[in-house]
């Protein structure tokens, strides 16, 4: 707990540096990653992340010290070569993109591991910590690392700010962008370059194995919360920064623990929460909507029974027992009771000693459902040329989805017909005396 307070209060200058580093990193990587995600290039992100390893190792072998700038350069070059190769092989061979990505990823990563093993067997004292590049160690970020991260992040965010509309158009409709005369190929290369840079700069804190998740997951989670790209970028950046802070804390409290996996755990939890709980797009919300719709359908079907019974004996204000309702159309008892109770609460029905009567509002609603059903049957038979004995099924399910605007269009298109294909009258308002 002491650790936590010390961390959260940011009194320690080392802690401040580390936190600053991961926040900048998480935010800027997620910003660029939003476009990688929208362009459906997530897998390429993973390939780049694995492919920077040989570059780092070669840079180290070459200069024999851990200079962050040189290592970044090595990572950047080998990451760039990997996307060039993926693009080139995909275009020139008949291999599919996913195969090429898998191929390049494993070849580069394998080569990187080979080099790493070679370096470790060499016994150079400076090589200590190079291992961190596999799974990341945020706590190992020191002043010059953070300055470098800050510089690169500034560059990334500035580039996205300045070229926002260009990045949007190559993500949404690249061909159209080309016909406008925009240099889309150049913009594409630039965006790929920024992606490589974002990955390369994050390697020390997050590690090559898991860096792709840092790039893609915040954007994927953010997509659940908004339909506005500008907001989506901000949300993704915040998620990235948040995950970074958590990873940094773990790295600080348990120095032996690699940071990358913890950052990924954090961002995955955020993504999981988004998938479940986001309004509109979230799974739970969708489930809830489905449940509400099922309840509504049940209530509408019950009202329709009242209408049919009333139509049969010419008396819409007569009270009906559960048995009478079930005889007309079977709904199991538990559901029927539930629906009746809800309708009473909505003042559509009135109960009196085990029998129910339509209220005025209830009759209006019951007429509306019957009307939609019969109008839809007319529509099916008129426009889809379906036989009268086939239209009932379709109308039975769709009547619950027709909005008032659609009803209006339906009535106009059909010219307010008086009867349905079964010659039953279509109940319009004020045509029935309740």
């Amino acid at each position: 707990m002491n650790d936590f307070l010390k961390f959260i209060s940011l009194q320690d200058s080392t802690v401040r540096m580390v936190v600053l580093g991961v926040v900048l990193l998480g935010a800027s990587t997620s910003t660029v990653g939003t476009f990688t995600f929208l362009r459906k290039k997530s897998l390429i992100g993973d390939a780049i992340a694995h492919s920077v390893l040989p570059g780092i190792c070669l840079a180290f072998i070459f200069i024999q010290v851990k200079n962050p700038l040189i290592l970044l350069l090595g990572a950047f070059i080998s990451g760039w070569i990997s996307i060039f190769l993926i693009d080139y092989i995909t275009r020139k061979s008949r291999l599919k993109a996913d195969t090429v990505i898998g191929l390049v990823l494993s070849v580069f990563f394998g080569f990187g591991i080979l080099l790493l093993t070679y370096i470790q067997s060499g016994g150079n004292a400076a090589m200590a910590g190079l291992n961190n590049f596999l799974f990341g160690q945020a706590a190992s970020l020191v002043g010059q690392d953070v300055y470098l991260i800050a510089g690169v992040c500034l560059l990334l965010v500035l580039a996205v700010y300045l070229l926002y509309k260009e990045f949007v158009i190559i993500s949404f409709d690249q061909d159209y962008g080309a016909t406008l005369g925009l240099p889309v190929k150049l913009i594409e290369v630039l965006l790929s370059t920024l992606t490589v840079l974002a990955i390369a700069v994050g390697i020390q804190a997050v590690g090559v194995v898991l860096m792709a998740a840092m790039l893609i997951t915040p954007a994927a989670a953010a997509r659940y919360w908004t339909n506005d790209l500008r907001k989506m970028i901000l949300v993704a950046a915040s998620f990235g920064a948040l995950a970074g802070i958590l990873g940094a804390y773990v790295s600080y409290a348990a120095p032996k623990m690699p940071t990358g996996p913890w950052i990924i755990v954090a961002i995955s939890v955020i993504a999981f929460i988004s998938i479940l709980f986001a309004p509109e797009r979230g799974v739970l919300m969708k489930q809830r909507m489905k449940r509400l719709k099922r309840g509504e359908t049940l209530r509408e079907n019950i009202l329709k029974i009242f209408f049919h019974l009333g139509e049969a004996d010419g008396d819409y204000s007569r009270s009906r027992t559960q048995n009478a309702l079930q005889e007309r159309r079977f709904i199991d008892k538990a559901h029927l009771k539930k629906g009746l109770n809800q309708l009473c609460k909505q003042d559509m029905l009135e109960e009196d000693g085990g029998a129910w009567t339509l209220t005025e509002a209830g009759l209006d609603e019951a007429m509306r459902i019957a009307r939609l059903h019969r109008l839809w049957e007319m529509y099916l038979s008129k426009y889809l040329h379906m036989e009268a004995d086939h239209v009932h099924e379709g109308a039975e399910s769709l009547e619950h989805f027709i909005t008032p605007e659609m009803e209006l269009i339906l009535e106009k298109e059909l010219g307010f017909p008086e009867t349905d294909p079964h010659d039953k009258p279509i109940p319009y308002k004020n045509t029935i005396n309740g």
Binding site: L162, K165, D175, G177, A178, G181, L182, L229
Partner: protein, 263 residues
């Protein structure tokens, strides 16, 4: 039968195009006069979309020459606008209707610059022309097929071009949307704009267009509709694929050979 136009807006000479090394257009040669509503007609796989994309410089051509307003495409981009097929993009993209229509202004703005207030006004007026101004804030994912199509047309109008190339603007739209799109195209024609439309429905084609290009991997005819719409020419266009030509292109694709000497 090819009737060449005088002072053509579009001029295509001897165009051959292959897609993934599979030749889809052979020696296409035609010209289009100004201020016409032109239908590009042919069966599935005839290369109609490929022809539009080639004119817009989106595909590498094996051979041939294309001139717009008697100049190269790059010199007249501001005067030409393209409407891709509706299915060519992911409509789940996080953007509003206005965002998409504003893309039509990107070419005028150039790199780094943001869209201006004037751009927004132009975009809104183009939305009004397709009766979509009410929906400017709507997410594009929530649009119906016909509405998506109209948003694409509004985006194209926002370019304020003189020549429009539209790929299947009538595909997947209902009857009322189709007639309102047609009315808009006729209005544009009245303003002396030239419009090339890829269209798959032979029945309505005669009614809609005043100049027709019949295409089936090769050019069958190009000219005023009254002269082109003959039984014989239509038969030739729709009379099945040319099996020999087809198997030859398959052979070329398998062997990965270049179709023509680039020199």
């Amino acid at each position: 039968m090819i009737i060449q136009a005088e002072n053509p807006v579009v001029e295509v000479h001897d165009l051959t195009v292959s897609y993934d090394r599979n030749p889809v257009l052979w020696n296409i040669d035609f010209s289009i006069p100004k201020g016409k509503l032109v239908g590009i007609i042919g069966p599935n796989g005839a290369g109609k979309s490929t022809l539009l994309k080639s004119i817009m410089g989106l595909l590498d051509t094996e051979s041939g020459r294309i001139k717009l307003f008697d100049q190269a495409l790059d010199d007249v981009r501001q005067r030409v606008s393209y409407v891709p097929q509706r299915e060519s993009v992911d409509w789940d993209f996080p953007a509003s209707v206005l965002d998409v229509v504003l893309m039509g202004r990107y070419g005028k703005r150039g790199l780094f610059n943001r869209v201006s207030k004037e751009d927004k006004e132009i975009a809104m007026s183009c939305l009004a022309k397709v009766n979509m101004e009410k929906y400017y804030k709507r997410q594009i994912a929530q649009l119906s097929g016909g509405q998506q199509q109209r948003v694409f047309i509004a985006r194209s109008l926002a370019q304020q071009a003189e020549l429009y190339l539209m790929d299947e603007p009538f595909a997947g739209v209902d009857a009322s949307a189709e007639s309102s799109i047609l009315a808009l195209l006729q209005e544009m024609r009245a303003e002396e704009k030239t419009i090339l439309v890829v269209h798959h429905d032979l029945q309505s084609a005669f009614e809609y267009f005043d100049w027709v290009i019949l295409l089936n991997m090769r050019l069958i005819a190009s000219g005023p509709k009254d002269e082109v719409f003959t039984n014989e020419l239509l038969q030739e266009t729709y009379g099945g694929k040319l099996t020999l030509l087809d198997s030859l292109s398959n052979f070329i694709r398998r062997k990965e050979l270049p179709i023509k000497d680039p020199n």
